[in-house]
Amino acid sequence: MNEKTMKASRKWQTLFFVVLIFGMTLASSAITEFNIFHGLATLPKAGAWIFSNLLITQESLERLPTILEKLLETILMSIAATTTGTAVAFFLSLMGSKTTGTSRALGVFARFVASVSRNIPVVAWALILLLSFGQNSMTGYLALFVGSVGFLTRAFIESIDEASQSAVEALRATGATYFQIVFKAVVPQCLPQMISWILFMIETNIRSATLVGILTGTGIGYAFDLYYKTLNYNAVALVTFSIIIAVIVIELMSNYIRKVII
């Protein structure tokens, strides 16, 4: 194949790709009844609506203590789900990792559990658990917990496989027991990576907690839903604003921690 035919085939490839993307966009627009021009045309109107209605007023500020309490509940729920999820994910990842895994069957089991709990969306877990647990913090907590276990197990397996191969081999050569290997080689090597993943999970969970809160009637999501449905848009603005502040503060904190430890 000379240069010319290669160039030509590349051109066809690009063309095919562009047509494919374009076709899929059209198909998606058709099935979802989405009109891009209409969508874009409503954008300025939507922007104007947001700027004229979503204003924080004096009256809505009176609700601030209630909102902050709900926000605290949501943040605590996300943190609790992440840390307890970490404990389970740690053992699952020890089973699932090639470096520290003891048997094939356990490894497959760990990966299967992680894959199922991560690939069923958190919303689905929330709806499933809502049926038996009812409307309280526990439902949201458990939904986030299951999702966190799934995601963190995959992340931890990657970190363990990446970081601790040589340290584990060295300790094994000295005749160290399994738990000595885990706590003297794997944990110290992977701890910075793992903390980084935990912080990332907390950030993600706070966003999902809002969503889960709308469904399970807890935390800041419930406050948002309540004000939204009673058309109290000033309070909606205040809720949104407090979430923005909380998320940005937590992001800045975890960025600082990440910078120091890695």
Binding site: S28, G39, T83, P121, V123, Q135, N136, F200, L211
Partner: protein, 283 residues
């Protein structure tokens, strides 16, 4: 990282030598704080109407019914796949439009291709947009732009743009400065640099990030269907569990979502391994 050694003789005459550094201190503090907050969380939780002795067996019964006896009763297979198509369509539209818009914004946000003040403004705006959960965007647009798929796509689009601008601009910043300088020396203008240097060397990264976002948007689209009434399979899931209390149907829908999600995950892992081994999933 400054390491310092502490040598101390204890009361019983034992000498302890401890190496400490700032990073270790921060790690200890982080872990302690997280554990303390977790304990506080369980203390503060609202346990109204919770009866664990009843809830746990009930959950197992529900899970057994869902996963061992899945069935569709309120709609047909054809409708189920149609709704799945709606969800995939929402995810695809918000990803592809988001990627197109994010590409231009990322060019503005990359510090090696743009002026400092423009890059800073775009970054702050993007951080702000990212901090608002997607569901709030969708609900806000539902009133601001009228209900329907437009609200869902616009809401998801906002978050996709914020996510992709961050990922894209980081990819752009890793382009070899030498290539850009060489092109600039030949008298190439900004567009020439973008088309002939930046785009060819980052294209695979952009593609992988976009696909990764598609995978995320799929589960977001499911969630938006359930929480914001955006239609699609998520809405059916919400109806089956919240209105019909039909566990077999919930099970069937969950299976469908699971299969699609796993296929997408396998595809994106394959793509990641091929194009960028040292990938981060950061949001």
């Amino acid at each position: 990282m400054e390491a310092s050694t502490y040598i101390r003789r204890g009361a019983n005459g034992r000498i302890t030598i401890k190496m400490g550094s700032k990073s270790e201190r921060v790690m200890t503090w982080t872990v302690t704080l997280l554990i303390a907050l977790t304990i506080a969380a369980f203390y503060f939780f609202d346990y109204t109407g919770l009866d664990l002795s009843k809830a746990i067996p009930e959950t197992f019964y529900n899970l057994k019914k869902m996963f061992l006896a899945p069935a569709l009763s309120h709609f047909t297979w054809g409708q189920a796949f149609y709704q799945m198509g709606v969800t995939l369509g929402l995810a695809f539209l918000s990803t592809i439009l988001g990627a197109a818009i994010a590409f231009f914004l990322a060019l503005m946000a990359a510090s090696n291709l743009s002026k400092a003040w423009i890059s800073k403004t775009v970054r702050i705006a993007v951080a702000f947009i990212r901090a608002v959960p997607t569901v709030l965007w969708v609900l806000i647009f539902a009133i601001a732009a009228g209900l329907g798929s437009e609200a869902a796509v616009l809401g998801m689009l906002f978050h996709s743009i914020a996510y992709l601008v961050k990922a894209f601009s980081e990819a752009f910043e890793e382009v070899d400065q030498g290539i850009i300088e060489a092109l600039r020396a030949t008298g190439a203008n900004w567009w020439h640099i973008v088309v002939h240097a930046v785009l060819p060397s980052t294209f695979t990264y952009l593609l992988s990030w976009t696909f990764l976002r598609f995978e995320i948007n799929f589960s977001v689209a499911v969630a938006m269907g359930a929480a914001a009434g955006a239609g699609g399979i998520g809405f059916e899931l919400f109806m089956a569990s919240g209105f019909y209390f039909d566990l077999s149907e919930v099970g069937m829908i969950t299976y469908m979502i699971l299969v699609f999600a796993i296929v997408l995950e396998i595809l994106s892992t394959k793509m990641k391994e091929r194009y960028f081994p040292a990938a981060k999933l950061g949001n």
